[in-house]
């Protein structure tokens, strides 16, 4: 990125921290996909990336481009809004498919104590 040297130091530090933090949180969520045992448990893990992970990367983007262009850039909020509104649709679809499969195979109470 050729504009990178124009970024003031405070913004550069903040942006770097937020990007790394968001990426780490998303990575933890992805590791969860590997480490958790059942399908239902695994579905919890990616939510880390779509909430705090995404929010801090988008915040970094807002700070970065607001500082570079000397005006407030906030259209990243829309990404946040649309991802938050649409993730439940996918997750509900997946969970209902899994429930249907387990019920038809007679394993509904497997996760129950």
């Amino acid at each position: 990125m050729t504009q990178a040297p124009d970024l003031p130091l405070w913004a550069a530090l903040l942006v770097a921290f937020l990007v790394l933090f968001g990426a780490s949180v998303s990575l933890i969520g992805t590791v969860g996909l590997l480490r958790l045992k059942t399908f239902y448990e695994r579905m919890h893990a990616p939510t880390l990336g779509t909430t705090v992970g995404m929010a801090s990367i988008l915040l970094a983007s807002m700070i970065c481009f607001s500082a570079l262009q000397s005006r407030i850039v906030i259209h990243e909020i829309l990404i946040e809004l649309f991802v938050t509104l649409t993730t439940p649709v996918t997750l509900m679809l997946l969970s209902r498919a899994a429930l249907y499969r387990d019920r038809s195979e007679g394993r509904e109470r497997r996760d129950k104590p």
């Binding site: 480490r35 919890h44 893990a45 850039v73 909020i77 829309l78 509900m92 969970s95 209902r96 429930l99």
Partner: protein, 162 residues
Amino acid sequence: MTRWLPHPLLLPALVILWLVLQESLSLGHIVLGTAIALFALRGLAALKPEKVWIRFTSAIPRLTVMVLGDVVRSNIAVGRIILSRQNPRRRSGFIHVPLEMRSRYGLAVLGIIITATPGTLWMQYDSSRGELLVHVLDLVDEDAWIRLLKDRYERLLMEIFE
């Protein structure tokens, strides 16, 4: 008026969406955005959605702050579960939550809240019995979770939507 604007809140929302997307406040974009929003609303009217009832009370900011805090807190909790060595005593499971809320929009927002907080997953809602099936990653006390969902979210959502 009601024929043209069955959902008065959606028009400004769509216009603001357009302006944020264009990053502009020029008159041209306001006019264009309004035209597009009106066109989109006509399309929506064809779907005949249920009327939205929103009560603008202090419940909205209270719920927003509470959800944001819960999202951060549950992110930390779930991250800790993933990173720590697998604890054989930790168990996940389903809970049945009896809901009193019947507003479809309130239920939709509750669905978004439950899925957006890591650690809880919306599985299925039975509208005839008003019973919601939620999967919880770290299920210690079933009743505590039910109380949490009902007292924290459902009560405020009912203040807003019903």
